[in-house]
């Protein structure tokens, strides 16, 4: 039997967490070493998988592993990887490594922090390679749940000033507090899970009592059933991808979360939602996808514009980045809704590009916050003079965010808007483009207000630049962003091994799909 590389990637973080359970609280160095080593092991595994998938060329699935879990119910541990899964494994590997390294500066109960964090990472890896719907769901839940404690215990309570007619209610509810954010996030995401579960049971029953996604893809569900099941999956997974109007957990959650958790959550977990919409919703329910494509695309456009406008109005650094995530995830969903090769490739590429970019953003924000204990932008200014490296990387992330050619963000947005133009609803590209313009306004304004111009103010005059661990994290993410921007084929070839296969299956199910 071949080496179970996928299980190895999934198991490394969980194994590290298990070892940490038996370490004493004081062994902080050991804990950090183990965490970083496990993340490196998983990252190397992911890189190897990507290389192999590229080398083996377009085929369906590689590295299949299959064990029966509950035979009488047809539940099996079934993992395998295709181009989509491999690209997201790589993304998760990179961000986990960067996050684990960036968190080495944490002093408050690092052992428990890493246990939860690595448990979560195992879940994320699992989702991207699970080919059994049930196991997919299990991994999904593992990825979502530790978030409550991670934010609730290690999060920070922001200083968002409540404004507007509902300020009193927001103060009463402790909006902006970490416990409020953790609870909101958990409830919204588990509400989504309830919908996913219902849709899953529907497919299980109608699809001949199997959870095997390969089998389910071959089943022709009645269009009427698909009309019911698809929105459940779309909203259920979409809630995690920041789907409007269920996105409001995201700014609160990301703002309150500790650095590594924001990196992972915005960088990887939101992709889990979008990946679920694509891989489970659209691939398994092709008729549903076509029936609902207009709604999906239109709401995605609202996401782009609404997220960008909301980000414009923020003065809290973390909220700007968090709302920009909502806007960028709209691009992913728009790409999915186009049902075109370019759109889907763009959606997958955007998942990768946005993941790296937002992780870079959040690690920078965490770095700034750790030194200033402030996230209020009007208090800042001229930081480039004291922390030049940070300023450089922040500017790089901004450029990718607004879709500057030469960064990964450009490739992704270009493909998605191209796909939108080729789709049945070409007008999607227009508000989408406007959203990208607004993005340019708020990210450039943010960069100027923080790093350039007057300053730095007296109390921030002695800030230090990134330390060693932080520099490792920044360089990793920054380099990735540029490499895939200049040489997009590296990733695109990988994604494109899977896209046409899925799209052909979708096309076989109905007319009106542009290739």
């Amino acid at each position: 039997m071949a080496f179970p590389i996928l299980s190895f990637i999934i198991a490394m973080p969980a194994l590290a967490a298990l070892i940490m359970l038996f370490l004493p609280d004081e062994a902080k160095t050991a804990v950090r070493t183990i965490a970083v080593s496990a993340s490196i092991a998983s990252l190397l595994g992911a890189i190897w998988v990507v290389r192999e998938v590229l080398a083996r060329g377009p085929a369906t699935f590689h590295f299949e592993e299959r064990y029966n879990l509950v035979p009488s119910l047809g539940i099996q541990y079934l993992v395998a990887v295709d181009g989509w899964g491999a690209s997201l494994l790589l993304l998760t590997g990179i961000i986990t490594f960067a996050g684990a390294v960036a968190s080495t500066t944490l002093e408050n109960r690092p052992r428990e922090f890493y246990i939860f964090l690595l448990g979560l990472v195992s879940g994320v890896f699992g989702v991207f390679v699970a080919q059994d719907l049930f196991v997919f769901f299990l991994f999904y839940e593992i990825a979502v749940l530790p978030m409550y404690l991670l934010i609730g215990i290690w999060g920070s309570t922001g200083k968002v000033k409540s404004e507007g007619p509902f300020a009193w209610a927001m103060d009463r509810l402790d909006v902006g507090g970490k416990e409020y954010a953790a609870m909101k996030l958990t409830l919204v995401l588990l509400g989504g899970s309830a919908l996913i579960l219902a849709a899953m049971l529907g497919m299980y029953q109608a699809g001949g009592h199997t959870f095997d996604m390969g089998q389910l893809a071959k089943v022709s569900f009645s269009p009427r059933l698909q009309w019911w099941l698809f929105p459940a999956l779309w909203v259920g997974f979409g809630a995690l991808a920041g789907l409007f109007p269920f996105h409001t957990w995201s700014p609160d959650g990301h703002a309150a979360a500790p650095t590594a958790v924001s990196m992972l959550h915005a960088g990887v977990l939101m992709k889990l939602g979008a990946f679920g919409v694509l891989r489970v919703g659209m691939v398994l329910l092709p008729d549903g996808a076509q029936q609902w494509a207009f709604a999906v695309g239109t709401i995605a456009v609202i996401n782009i514009v609404w997220g960008a406008m909301s980000a414009m109005a923020q003065k809290d650094l973390k909220y700007i980045i968090a709302y920009s995530s909502v806007s960028h995830m709209g691009v992913v969903l728009l790409g999915a809704a186009t049902l075109t090769v370019n759109g889907w490739n763009g959606a997958m590429f955007q998942m990768f590009a946005h993941g790296i970019m937002t992780a870079l953003f959040f690690s920078l924000v965490g770095l700034i916050y750790e030194r200033t204990h402030d996230r209020w932008i009007p208090n800042m200014g001229g930081f480039a003079k004291v922390m030049p490296l940070t300023a450089a990387f922040f500017t790089l992330a901004c450029l990718s965010s607004l879709g500057m050619p030469g960064t990964a963000g450009f490739v992704a947005e270009f493909l998605v808007f191209l796909g939108a133009w080729q789709s049945a609803n070409s007008w999607w590209a227009v508000p989408g483009g406007i959203g990208a313009l607004v993005t340019a306004v708020y990210v450039l304004r943010g960069t100027r207000d923080i790093f350039w111009g007057e300053g730095p103010p007296e109390k921030f005059a002695h800030l230090t630049d990134a330390g060693f661990a932080e520099r490792v994290s920044l360089w990793t993410l920054g380099t990735t962003l540029v490499v895939f921007g200049v040489w997009p084929r590296l990733l695109l070839d990988l994604i494109d091994t899977a896209t046409p296969v899925y799209l052909a299956a979708l096309q076989a199910h109905g007319a009106g799909v542009t290739p």
Binding site: Y148, E179, G191
Partner: protein, 481 residues
């Protein structure tokens, strides 16, 4: 007339073992010097385990008393649950009982054993007479046990409440049964079900409704649940560990016997009231739990909502549904017992008042207790890799297969709401600073009981296959008869 031989009672062998063991302990208790009485707990556990072993050694399948008792796979499954669950409950209560009622502790376990004997007989009762007798055999010891701390005014008050409610509920149940008997002219449940199926009448519906209402009091269906939180709050926690878990499943055993006979004839007739009651129970249980500040009350209302889930399984009237009800029952018993045991340990060792605030910073005062409680709460909330997740999932699966799609969506959404109040306890344990840094000590016996519950919750959660298969097998062939 044939003289009954012992072999004719083979289906009742486990019950006989339990009875003989209990009687033997009764005599032993009289002869034993006071200083040795703590050994009675061991005797009770040995008796229960011996009865459980009897279900494996001899096949307790067949009829006794001319069909009044019918040993089936279902009966065996439930018997094992009652015996093993009872043994864990005895273990969890042992230290407390030894300290609180040193001289009377033998009586405590004896009363408990007789209650379990009643439950055990219920598992096969196919005749109204036996059903009622077994039901009272289960219930009356519970009143006694609630009043066991006789110097405690609140416990006495709780016992009187429980007794009055219990008497009223028994009377309602009996009245309903007498109506059904009057219609069918037979005390056999099968005959009644057959008759009702052939001649549906409003009177039969009234009879069924009174049965549901009467039992509803016992198991805490909304709106008959009012006594539950008061009784739990007032009662001594080691006893609530028992009261909150096994009698509920016993109540459902009666439901299964009556409502599911002959392809669920009575349940089909009373489908509308059952449907309304299960939905209102789910809503009320969860919403009322939201604002509780006492952990025991919170768990009481959460128990009400779990009854709602069990009723969903009952509604399906299918073999799959029955099997999943059994699975849920096992999960519920061990999760709930574990949670109440932790509540007891925290109060006992930390001197709190059972409020959520008394759990503040538990992770720093006793990390192991906090971790165990986390597992139990997650299981109650239905989170993966805990038994509660599979239990909910399997019930939803059965409900979906039965065609109640809306109920699945409703049930899944309401279980998200439930997470809100379970997480309040998690937040107190992990995020709030402790009121004082004093370490909470747990005695090894109580700790063992918690470990056993945790093993069940996590073990089945990680590998649900065998229990799922066992529950499916136990349910085979029951509904059709």
């Amino acid at each position: 007339m044939n003289v009954p031989m012992l072999v004719d009672f083979q289906p009742l062998l486990p019950d006989l073992v339990l009875l003989v063991g209990a009687l033997w302990l009764l005599i032993l208790d009289l002869l034993m010097p006071h200083g040795r009485k703590r050994l009675m707990a061991g005797g009770a556990i040995v008796t229960l385990l011996a009865a459980a072993a009897a279900t494996w050694l001899y096949d307790p399948i067949g009829t006794v008393w001319g069909g009044a008792y019918l040993g089936t796979g279902l009966a065996v499954f439930l018997k094992r649950l009652f015996y093993v669950g009872g043994a864990v409950a005895v273990l969890g209560a042992r230290t407390h009982v030894n300290e609180a009622y040193a001289r009377r502790q033998g009586e405590y376990y004896l009363t408990m054993l007789f209650s379990i004997l009643g439950m055990s007989l219920l598992t096969g009762a196919r005749d109204l007479i036996l059903l009622v007798v077994a039901f009272e055999l289960m219930s009356i010891p519970l009143y006694v046990l609630t009043a066991f701390p006789r110097d405690d005014k609140r416990a006495t008050e709780g016992a009187v409440k429980l007794y009055l409610v219990g008497a009223a509920s028994s009377a309602t149940l009996l009245f309903g049964l007498s109506l059904l008997f009057g219609l069918a002219h037979d005390t056999s449940i099968l005959a009644i079900a057959t008759h009702v199926q052939a001649h549906p009448s409003p009177l039969a519906l009234v009879g069924a409704a009174m049965v549901i209402g009467g039992l509803g009091f016992k198991i805490g269906i909304f709106p008959f649940h009012m006594w539950v939180p008061d009784a739990y709050e007032g009662g001594h926690t080691p006893f609530i560990v028992f009261l909150s878990a096994l009698p509920k499943i016993a109540g459902f055993t009666v439901f299964i016997q009556l409502l599911l006979a002959r392809n669920g004839a009575l349940a089909t007739m009373a489908l509308a009231p059952l449907l309304v009651l299960s939905v209102t129970t789910l809503i009320a249980g969860n919403f009322l739990a939201l604002r509780q500040s006492n952990v025991k009350r919170l768990l009481a209302f959460s128990g009400v909502s779990h009854v709602g889930f069990l009723m969903l399984a009952l509604l399906t009237r299918s073999e799959l549904g029955l099997g999943m009800l059994l699975f849920y029952g096992v999960g519920y018993v061990f999760t709930n017992m574990g949670a109440f045991l932790v509540v007891h340990a925290v109060k006992n060792g930390g001197g709190g008042d059972d409020s959520i605030a008394s759990f503040d910073g538990l992770v720093r005062r006793n990390g192991w207790l906090a971790a165990a409680m986390l597992a139990f709460l997650l299981s109650l909330a239905g989170i993966p890799f805990m038994v509660g997740f599979w239990a909910k999932l399997f019930v939803f699966l059965a409900v979906w297969e039965a065609g109640f799609y809306g109920l699945v969506v409703f049930g899944a959404s309401i279980s998200v709401l439930a997470l809100f109040y379970y997480l309040r306890v998690v937040r107190a344990m992990f995020m709030n600073p402790p009121a004082n840094e004093a370490v909470i000590d747990v005695d090894p016996v109580t700790n063992t009981a918690i470990v056993l519950c945790l093993l069940a919750v996590v073990g089945i959660g990680l590998y649900p296959g065998p229990l799922y298969d066992a529950a499916r097998v136990a349910a085979v062939g029951f509904i059709g008869n």
